[in-house]
């Protein structure tokens, strides 16, 4: 196979940009699964919801999708808190997270997807913004702005979360709750409230991730399903709850997927992330930078 | 006489935290060993490594002359190690009788040859429940039990597996004085029948009266091991419990 250097370089660059975006989508799962041990497989469903809301407001009012997502943060946060409250009362309290909690989130994913189909139909939707279309060129490499801007926004989001976790009291309380709930209680902080805040943040990230997604590619309701594997693969590979690990794993996955799509064809791409996930779970569940 | 249990210099870490650091322990057949140590000293981790719930990272565990590293917990139970959990873990969807039937079916019958009839099984379950004073609640569910009764069920379930070595992990917490006496009498009776017992407890009076030998674990290291009256006078032990 003739591998042109030009093609290779571009594939890697695209992979890096894609990886940055994947990190944004995974950030929320790093919190909900990595730190709170909640398997929220409905996470991609909420991301798609964010995409559609960004689409709706962008198409009807012409507002920039990233701006829309920032305005929607409070609503998504509230949604996350509400979902956690139901989850806690119905499952965590009764100790039934494993079977019923999973079924709950699976049901939510399904309901979200089908509701979107009913409201918006199955056609692909896309947004319009000034940076969708043009690219910048650095030497041999083509960087489409519709990928560069989301990647930068994603990194900003990621950085913001990392700062929050390590520098604020609530953030550190979240880390504490992931490690030792009892100790946190003794420090007179309510672990349930902390977890609710954390889960709220986790879903809030979906608003932004959704907007970024629909900038990068056209969206239809079942797109979320492709992301389930990606998101959990990145989370597990990066070592649960480690933000730097998640970023590295996301970049890695992005590059591998990009190379696969470029040299083997895009129909193999889903197998890459899910295959990665299976292999990681089978052989190194503690992640690359395993704890 | 070869030791029944030989914990040979085992270590166990959780990430950066060292739970066990080169712990060496020998238990002779028929012995009554007490294991004490402040909270977080690694006692439960040690039990988990002996029983196979966790695997030690270095060193080895030898039981009855054979290395058991790498064996799953259920295999070690088949070989004769049984334990009760510090926080009781009953099978919540089954009655008390059925809870006891599990170790009988899956351990005792897995060892010996011909299967006994259901009649025999039921009788044995009731016998075990009688032993811990729970026979009146035989058909009830674990959720109907008090904390204390759940601990007794834990112990009964461990004994049901007909072990050579029984590790009782804080079975006496919260019991009244007479209940503690009952459990101690029970453990001594089991010991007289030939079962080696490791008693992990915080209740010093119980530990002192029960143990032939006492070992002390502090921060993952064994700091004392010998006759109970000598160990409690060991300055390091006193320091560990009373602080500096």
């Amino acid at each position: 196979m003739d591998i042109s250097f030009d093609l290779l370089l571009n594939a890697i660059a695209a992979g890096l940009l894609l990886g940055g975006f994947y990190a944004a989508v995974t950030a929320g799962v790093s919190i909900s699964f990595g730190m709170l041990d909640i398997v929220n497989i409905a996470h991609p469903g909420f991301v798609i919801l964010g995409s559609y809301l960004a689409y709706f407001i962008n198409i009807n009012f012409g507002v920039d999708p990233i701006l829309v997502s920032i305005l929607m943060l409070p609503a998504f946060y509230a949604l996350g808190s509400a979902v956690y409250q139901v989850y806690y009362l119905s499952f965590e309290k009764r100790g039934q997270e494993s079977l019923r909690g999973l079924a709950f989130f699976f049901g939510l994913l399904f309901v979200t997807e089908v509701s979107l189909i009913l409201v918006f139909g199955v056609d692909y939707r896309y947004v319009e913004a000034a940076y969708i279309g043009p690219s910048i060129h650095i030497g041999l490499v083509d960087l489409p702005l519709r990928m560069l801007v989301p990647c930068l926004a994603a990194l900003a989001l990621f950085g913001a979360i990392e700062l929050f976790i390590t520098r604020t009291f609530t953030g550190r309380a979240i880390m504490a709750v992931s490690q030792d709930q009892l100790a946190l209680q003794l420090m007179a902080a309510d672990p349930i409230r902390i977890k609710r805040i954390a889960f709220g943040i986790s879903i809030a990230t979906c608003a932004i991730a959704g907007a970024l997604l629909i900038i990068i590619q056209p969206v239809e309701p079942s797109v979320g399903r492709e992301y389930i594997g990606r998101v959990f693969a990145i989370c597990v590979l990066g070592g649960l709850g480690s933000m730097p690990g998640t970023l590295i794993a996301a970049m890695l996955l992005g590059i591998v997927e990009s190379l696969t799509a470029t040299f083997y064809g895009p129909s193999w791409a889903p197998a890459v992330s899910f295959g990665f996930l299976l292999l990681t779970l089978a052989f190194r569940p503690a992640g690359l930078l395993g704890r | 006489m070869t030791a029944l249990l030989h914990v040979d210099n085992i270590s166990k870490r959780f990430g950066g935290f060292v739970a066990l650091d080169g712990v060496e322990l020998m238990v002779q057949p028929g012995e009554r060993l007490g294991l004490i140590g402040p909270n977080g000293s690694g006692k439960s981790t040690l039990v988990n490594c002996i029983c196979g719930t966790l695997q030690n990272e270095s060193g080895s565990v030898r039981f009855d002359g054979q290395v058991v590293d790498g064996l799953a917990a259920h295999q070690r139970t088949h070989r004769g190690i049984a334990r009760s959990f510090q926080l009781p873990r009953p099978f919540t969807s089954m009655t008390l009788v059925d809870n006891l039937r599990i170790p009988l079916l899956y351990t005792v019958h897995a060892r010996s040859g011909p299967l006994r009839s259901t009649g025999d099984l039921d009788a044995r379950c009731h016998e075990l429940l009688e032993m811990v004073g729970l026979v009146k609640k035989a058909k009830q569910m674990p959720r109907d039990l008090t904390q204390v009764e759940m601990r007794k069920l834990e112990l009964a379930r461990a004994v049901a597996a007909e072990p050579k070595l029984l590790i009782a992990d804080e079975s006496m917490a919260g019991l009244s004085h007479s209940e503690i006496e009952d459990i101690l009498t029970l453990l001594v009776r089991l010991n007289e029948r030939g079962i080696t017992v490791i008693l992990i407890e915080h209740i010093m009076s119980a530990v002192m009266s029960f143990s032939q030998r006492l070992a002390v674990l502090v921060s993952g290291k064994k700091i004392a091991d010998g006759k109970p009256e000598d160990v409690v006078r060991n300055p390091e032990v006193v320091r560990a419990y009373l602080g500096q």
């Binding site: 079924a103 389930i228 299976l278 | 799953a72 079916l105």
Partner: protein
Amino acid sequence: MNTAKFSLIAIAIGAAVLAFAHWFKVDYLYFASYTILQFIVLATAWNILGGYCGYVNFGSAAFFAMGAYSSVFMHKFYPLPIPVLIVIGAIVSGIAGFGMGYLTLRLRGSFFAIATLALAVVLQTLVVNWDYVGGSRGAYILRPESLEFAGITINYIEYLFALMLALAVIALVTARVIERSQLGFGFATIRDDELAAEACGVPTLRLKLIATTLSGAFMGMAGAPFPYYIGYLQPSSAFGLEYAVNSIAMPMIGGTTSWVGPLVGAILLGSAQQYATVTISSAVNLLIVGLMLVGFVIIAPNGLIGLVQERLRARRKP
């Protein structure tokens, strides 16, 4: 009631249903009931691993589709009668279940669930890229009009219906046998507290592998006749998410602790879906399934059977 008696009753009921359907001779009823019977098998199969052991499988579609695609493969390679295909489907999906279990059952339940999802997508991608069985274009299987058997001509759809009915009976009897056996007892300990089960001497990994293999095998059996039933098989329909949702929703709504739950769930939900698809739309129908799953899981964790049991228990107490 011992197993022999139960089996006889089940077979008798099955035979009665078959005779009843034969007398009515409405093709649409055959098609609709086939789907429901298929769901009875899938729901029962899922429940062996999910309800009895507590391990959630999101990839039911994968095992179902593997049964279907092994039939497509054999159809092109060396045509065989459907009962043989069913056995082949069982073997293929059973091995897949075993393999997946071996790779992932040492992990916690939540990791296992995610792994099943991953497996489904990987398998789907493999099939989409495999031209021999049609790839993304799909495969046509021509269904003969009728079948000659001992001098009698049977309508082919009736034949498929009878096969699926037999499978449903076998699945239900198997589930009941497991439930009442030492194996089922062991499964329950895994569901209740795996660590304690190990400490009691239960070989949890071995039992879980048995569960995944059996569960996978039955799903493969349900899938094997599918290409003949549907005539045109596409990866998107074989691997469709509705199989995953329904095989979870039906036992959870019906009740996961006994063989009755998946049966009840499959009949109720299956019929409701048939009705909704025809009268409203297939998308709305799926929405209702999803909402019911979420609702039941929150409000009635032990399903309809659980609600009935609670009523009976309440009535027994003075």
